[in-house]
């Protein structure tokens, strides 16, 4: 039984395309710089200096770098939540200047609305977009099945484990059918075993709903296992791209590749790059 509270929902014909299945989009970073002004002492702090790379359609790109290099800022800028001070971020052909419906964010902490059930949380984005309630619920249930949470749609967030909450987080981002999925270290707060399960789950889910993905992580192995390409950032402040590495393993990826010599080679390459990067 799916429990939903009664709520008046604006039924509009505004978004018929929401279920047409948006195709994956292309995300470009062109000479992007991000600077913060610390409010305390008004000093300008250059978090990101000059970053350029592209996430092609249907590509899974991982960004890896040392702590504090501003990886999350890049993602927040792509999401439109943080302004950039130089350069441009483009989705398809349009510049990013604020949040948009063509992107969806999976934050590091699940950030579920605690007073809503799983299903109500998942369809939150659709509710904001004023999609009809029954359509939204139907699509929400499909996504809930896809992320492996069938049977839990009536549960409240506090009744779920960390990994399950992140699945809801992911479902919430997927249900609005974005062209680009932005993920900010989504598995960082999970224990090692759950994290490995979630990595495999993510690849399975991504395989069924091809989107472009920008995946931020500090875990080198995770980046190589998941990505088609790995962007290595240098140490901050004033971060730039150190290296872009193509990851050539076949899809679907088997977990055994983590032990293969080629994999370990790439890990070493990236590790060295990070260790000896300028900064």
């Amino acid at each position: 039984m799916v429990k939903l509270r009664d709520r008046k929902v604006n039924v509009t014909k505004k978004n018929p395309g929401a279920f047409a299945g948006t195709s994956a989009e292309r995300l470009e970073f062109l000479g992007v710089g991000i600077a913060y002004t610390a409010s305390r002492d008004s000093k300008r702090f250059q978090a990101i200096a000059n970053v350029s790379f592209t996430v092609e359609e249907n590509e899974f790109v991982c960004v890896v770098g040392p702590s504090g290099c501003g990886k999350s800022s890049l993602m927040l800028a792509a999401a439109g939540l943080v302004p950039i001070s130089s350069g441009a971020i483009k989705i398809g052909d349009t510049r990013v200047d604020g949040p948009g419906r063509d992107r969806a964010v999976v934050f590091q902490s699940a950030s579920l609305l605690p007073w809503r059930s799983v299903l109500e949380n998942v369809i939150y984005g659709l509710e904001i977009m004023k999609v009809d309630k029954s359509d939204a619920s139907r699509r929400g249930m499909d996504i809930i099945k896809l992320v492996g949470l069938e049977g839990f749609e009536g549960h409240y967030p506090h009744e779920l484990s960390g990994g399950m909450q992140q699945r809801v987080n992911l479902a919430r981002a997927l249900v609005v059918d974005p062209g680009i999925l932005l993920m900010d270290e989504p598995f960082a707060s999970l224990d090692a075993q759950t994290r490995e399960v979630m990595q495999a789950e993510l690849l399975r889910i991504w395989g069924e709903m091809r989107k472009s993905v920008l995946f931020i992580t500090h875990q080198i192995e995770e980046a190589i296992f998941l990505g088609d390409r790995v962007i290595v950032l240098s140490k901050g402040p004033g971060t730039v791209v150190s290296k872009i590495i193509d990851v050539d393993f076949e899809r679907p990826r088997a977990e055994t590749i983590k032990r293969s010599p080629k994999f370990i080679e790439i890990v070493d390459e990236i590790w060295n790059c990070i260790r000896y990067s300028s900064g």
Binding site: A79, G80, L81, G98, P99, G100, R101, A104, V105, F107, S109, S111, L113, P114, W115, R116, Y124, G125, E127, I128, M129, G148, L149, Y156, P157, H158, E159, L160, S161, G163, M164, V176, Q193, T194, E196, V197, A200, E201, R204
Partner: protein
């Protein structure tokens, strides 16, 4: 649900060596059944125990009181006794002016509290949402909250007369500030990560308010309402004690002046009873709103 029958585990790949079936320590499903009170009383259902012990305590106290008064251990002219109070209660509500006093006090509190609810919530929300309004009115709110209502009653009587209106004003002034202050706090302390989620979905300000800020503020608001009820009741009684011509407080005042201690206790008990009824009703509402919360403690 049997203990251990179902565990909330991590749904993973079938056959994967990483598939977990560990019970989630924070899930409520694996706790022992909630209505058993493990103690020296054995496995009695807690709700029966609460009633039994409660009644026992009340009976013991009332009995001791009656006995002390009958044996003149204490002076019954001052302390009265349960039997006399029961008789006085019967007289009071059976044509002794009790119903009328109750009606007056009820109107005074009801009206004053309703107005304070409306004004407290509206101003609280508005001041919590728009920061400049908060800066503007905060000194006034703090000043109003700190002012003892007792000190204002004579002034209010001058303004509104000795009748019901001045008491409504006292109740309003007593209840509005806790409601307002807690509402402001609830609105201001919205979870920043949830706000960010709403922004990422490009929610309008109104949508952010409706879906994140307001539901998040409900616990604080309910707390404010509960405090408002308490303060409002005090305001009503104080107002009637100082200057009134009718009502429960008036009864307390005149009964006290005439050494009718039994009648005084009756009126005091009625006031307390109203307070209990109101706070318990609020508790029921609160429990319904709190369905999504994890259970903390016992």
């Amino acid at each position: 649900m049997e203990y251990g029958q179902e565990v909330l585990g991590e749904p993973g790949l079938t056959g994967s060596p990483f598939e977990l079936q560990t019970p989630d320590p924070f899930s409520a499903e694996n706790d022992a059944p909630k209505d058993t009170f493990h103690s020296s009383f054995g496995r009695l259902p807690e709700k029966y125990l609460r009633v039994i012990l409660g009644l026992l305590g009340a009976v013991v106290i009332l009995g001791a009181w009656q006995i002390c008064a009958d044996l003149k251990i204490v002076n019954p002219a001052f302390t009265s006794r349960p039997s006399a109070i029961a008789i006085a209660a019967k007289h009071y509500f059976d044509g002794g002016g009790g119903i009328y006093a109750l009606k007056i006090s009820f109107i005074e509190f009801g009206l004053g509290f309703a107005i304070s609810l409306v004004i407290g919530l509206i101003i609280g929300i508005v001041m919590g949402w728009w920061r400049w309004l908060d800066y503007l009115f905060d000194p006034l709110v703090n000043f109003g909250y700190a002012t003892p209502r007792i000190a204002l009653v004579p002034l209010l009587v001058v303004w509104f007369g000795i009748g019901t209106a001045s008491k409504v004003a006292v109740v309003f002034l007593s209840a509005v500030f806790p409601i307002m202050i807690n509402t402001i706090s609830g609105v201001k302390t919205s979870d920043a990560s949830l706000l960010r989620v709403a922004q990422a979905f490009k929610a309008s300000n109104f949508q952010i308010f409706r879906t994140v800020v307001l539901p998040g503020a409900v616990p604080s608001i309910v707390t404010g309402i509960r405090l408002g009820i308490g303060q409002g009741l005090i305001g009503m009684v104080v107002g009637e004690l100082i200057a009134s011509t009718a009502g429960l407080g008036y009864t307390i005042e005149t009964a006290g002046n005439n050494f009718q201690s039994a009648l005084m206790f009756v009126a005091v008990a009625v006031v307390a009873g109203i307070g209990v009824i109101l706070t318990q009703s609020l508790r029921v509402v609160e429990r319904r709103l709190d369905r999504w919360r994890p259970r903390v403690g016992n």
